[in-house]
């Protein structure tokens, strides 16, 4: 129970990797805020809350669109009312709008940058003062190996994830004197609902470039987030940890 008494906010945690991260932090005793973007997700967010309660931990679900500063501020206020503080922030909310540059619409670019990058800015800004004041905090940004190496058809996504890395390092420098760390995780191919839809041929091609010869699991990302959130990671900041089975070393 290494995170007993800590309060963690994971954006976009009603499903996918965010959900697995939230459950992992809760297993270690953290109180969780399950953030979700739209009313459609309310039910799945509530299910995550129930799963966490079954683990014997506390959790609340809060709807807030991370691209809207006012909604983010409202969410942070509610968290303060409910749990007094925020110790751990995981900026996980992310979307894709994949297409080749030639076919990419301005809306595709804006939507991805808004959620993946500006969303992280909004939430980090809103909680940074709380962490600075308490002289401790952990900010964990979920980037991607695509932000490090690029990927055809994902220029918007790659730009947002590379942007997150620059953002992480700048925040790390600004907040380090206050005991607040900021790190990024760059997952490679992680088995999710998204990768389940790929054809055998594409899967085979992908595996051929991964030395570990398998896709990662959401738990691999969650374990890394748990480590970065832990007391043991207090001297690590501005770091980007790849969780990719050796794909991009």
């Amino acid at each position: 129970m290494s995170l007993k008494g800590k309060v963690a906010l994971v954006t976009g945690s009603s499903r996918g990797i965010g959900k697995v991260i939230a459950l992992k932090l809760a297993e270690e005793g953290a109180k969780l805020v399950i953030n979700y973007p739209v009313a459609d997700e309310a039910e799945s967010a509530q299910q995550v809350v129930e799963e966490i309660e079954d683990l014997g931990a506390e959790a609340i679900a809060l709807q807030a669109d991370v691209t809207a500063m006012e909604e983010v501020k409202g969410m942070v206020k509610e968290v303060k009312q409910e749990f007094d503080t925020i110790d751990i922030l995981v900026n996980n909310a992310g979307i894709t709008r994949d297409t080749l540059l030639l076919r990419m619409k301005e809306e595709d670019w804006d939507a991805v940058l808004d959620v993946n990058l500006k969303g992280a800015f909004n939430v980090t800004k809103a909680i940074s003062r709380i962490m600075m004041k308490q002289r401790s905090g952990r900010i964990i940004n979920i980037s991607s190996v695509v932000g490090l190496m690029g990927n055809a058809g994902q220029s918007n996504y790659a730009a947002s994830k590379a942007g997150l890395i620059g953002f992480t390092k700048s925040v790390a420098k600004e907040l380090a004197p206050r005991g607040v760390t900021a790190n990024a995780i760059a997952p490679g191919f992680i088995e999710t609902a998204m990768t389940d839809q790929l054809s055998d041929k594409v899967v085979e091609q992908m595996l051929s470039v991964i030395p570990a010869n398998s896709f990662g699991q959401p738990e691999d990302v969650a374990d890394t987030a748990l480590f970065l959130a832990s007391e043991g990671a207090k001297y690590i900041t501005g770091e980007v940890i790849r969780v990719d089975g050796g794909m991009t070393m």
Binding site: R129, M132, K133, E174, P177, R178
Partner: protein
């Protein structure tokens, strides 16, 4: 409570210094040991308390407690 007293109270809370150190002549950086992040926090606390906006370029000119009093009284 006048502006100076309010400012002194905020500075004591934000910087964790003793009240008698927060004289009008005291420099935030040289006398009160504030670093750049502390200054931002103090300025944000002023903004909240007095419901004003202090742009970065103005904040740079606030060196002492008296500077803050003058700026805020002027802005109110």
């Amino acid at each position: 409570m006048d502006t100076l007293e309010k400012i002194q109270e905020i500075v004591v809370t934000e910087l964790g210094v003793d009240a008698d150190e927060v004289t009008p002549e005291a420099s935030f950086i040289d006398d009160l040991g504030a670093d750049s992040l502390d200054i931002v926090e103090v300025v944000m606390a002023f903004e909240e308390e007095f419901d004003i906006e202090i742009p970065d370029e103005d904040a740079e000119d606030i060196g002492t407690v008296q500077d803050a009093v003058d700026y805020i009284e002027n802005a109110l």
